[in-house]
């Protein structure tokens, strides 16, 4: 048996992950043709590279089918209920930064904070007969955040893409989405609520609490952590 490390199978996230491990003396590479999802590891025995879609890595970690995985901290929190029981954050990797934010029309001059959003939601419901709609694909993160801050009288509507357009199209009154620059928000006449993002995401190395860890696996993990400079 070997320790399975799940890494995003394409794009910048894969390249940055390879760079990050490479800089620490563990060489990860795709093998075969460009289209074949197979990988190789040099610099550490007993570690096996598994290339997966970043969105599937949380689920594979929770199921224990991979021992370690690299994915966005937002995806783990969004896709796994009680995520801390299933995975452990070993190390934030310092790339893939993205903030999950809530945005409202810029012309809502009366809304700066979540506090305002809550008050507006109450008035909106009384006036329109339905709850103020927030378009998002991050249902769990946004719902937990709004509950924790005592926001009521809203509803989440699912939006898997072009989320910033939902306000103008009147299918939502506000949005919650990942933004790295804010350009799209400005172009759609939206502004971010004050008070910090719902979640500051970055690529993170996770350890599965659900995988079977043999003594050999633990030795491989200890060697890997030593190479990567991860303490404890």
């Amino acid at each position: 048996m070997s320790v399975k490390l799940g890494v995003p199978s394409k794009g910048r996230l894969m390249e940055k992950t390879f760079d990050w491990f490479g800089a620490r003396g563990v060489t990860l590479a795709r093998t075969g043709s460009d289209r074949e999802y197979a990988g190789a590891v040099e610099g550490l025995d007993g570690l096996e590279l598994v290339l997966l879609s970043a969105g599937e890595i949380p689920r594979e970690l929770a199921a224990g089918r991979i021992h370690l995985g690299v994915t966005g901290s937002d995806l783990v929190r969004e896709k796994l209920g009680a995520w801390e029981e299933k995975v452990l954050e070993l190390e934030p990797m310092g790339f893939g930064h993205a903030d999950l934010i809530i945005a409202v029309p810029k012309a809502w001059v009366d809304v700066t904070t979540l506090d305002d959003l809550d008050a507006v939601a109450a008035a909106f419901r009384a006036r329109h007969g339905f709850r103020l709609r927030i378009a998002t694909k991050y249902h769990r993160l946004v719902r937990d955040y709004l509950r924790e801050h005592g926001v009521a009288d809203y509803q989440l509507v699912d939006s898997q893409g072009a989320t910033e357009g939902t306000v103008k199209n009147e299918t939502a009154e506000a949005i919650a989405d990942i933004t790295s620059t804010g350009e799209t928000l400005r172009a759609n006449h939206l502004k971010i609520l004050a008070g910090g993002p719902v979640h500051r995401s970055q690529a993170t190395l996770f350890k599965s609490r659900k995988a079977a860890w043999t003594d050999e696996d633990r030795a491989v993990l200890a060697a890997l952590k030593a190479k990567l400079g991860i303490e404890a």
Binding site: W108, V109, A122, G150, A152, L156, E170
Partner: protein, 362 residues
Amino acid sequence: MADKSAIRAEAARFRAFFEAQGAQLVDPPILQPAETLLDLYGEDIRARAYVTADPALGEAMLRPDFTVPVVEMHMQGGAEPARYTYEGEIFRKQEEATHRAPEYIQVGFELFDRADPAAADAEVFALIAEALAPLGLRAATGDIGILSAAVSGLSTSEARKRALMRHLWRPRRFRTLLDRFAGRAAQPEGRAELLARSDPMACDAPLVGLRSEAEIAARIAALIEDAKTPPIPEVEVALLDDLLGLRETMSNITEHLRDLAVDMPAISPAVERLAARGRALAARGVDIDGLDFEGSYGRTALEYYDGFVFGFYAEGRPDLPPVATGGRYDALTRVLGRGHEIPAVGGVIRPELVLRLGEGRA
């Protein structure tokens, strides 16, 4: 864990007990229209209920409780007064407490009665207490009606009272608002700047979306009005804190509350209702000297309880959820009754917990 047939047998035993007290057996469907529940509970119910879709029904939920469908059924022409009992599975996702079962059996009793709310409260509580008597559980009670009366009696604007009432079931948010309205906490970011502007409506971006300019203007007018509202007096906040912090036995609570009511006359009618409930409980043989009353009890329960609230707990087993819970939900009948309403009170028992606790004792 007890096997399911034993749990069903235990549930049937409680149901037969409620039927013997005159309750009519009802059997609401497991699939409930999601819209009604979402409208009542908001987005939080999505985190707790299993949502599914039917090509014809649309979005549906596996019933997360019985009260809502029983109220709906009653409001469509039930007799008065009415007593109902039911048993069956309810379904709740346990995302944050994965050791708890997502599917379990409840047995319940609901009483719709206009004549004597105190007697109705006492009847429901006393029946459940009698059914659970062998387990020696601790009962806790509270009264959301006293809290809402206290809020409605504050010397402040109707808008501020409405805001506090809306968050009665979210203690942290309630506290934030109360501190702000009492002048003990700063205004939220951006508020002062907005109100200081010569034209608060001015904006360099076009308005997009359904919320209109008139709605924004109305909110700004409300904010200007609110900024002029004097703070809630310290003494009133202190009284409210006293009320929220109360812990007493049912037999002693009335005198405490009457003392508070000297300075908070708005709660007097609710305190007298509580006193009448105490008498009705005693008349039914409930030991009110050993019955706890907590000022904040029920504030984190389901939002529909608006009067008497209660729960039965196994002492020394904080790992277990309450064995039984219940309360009064007059406002829910108003919401679901489309113009009709009837005072109503009810409670549910979890027979699986009864069996588990019974095994421990045997």
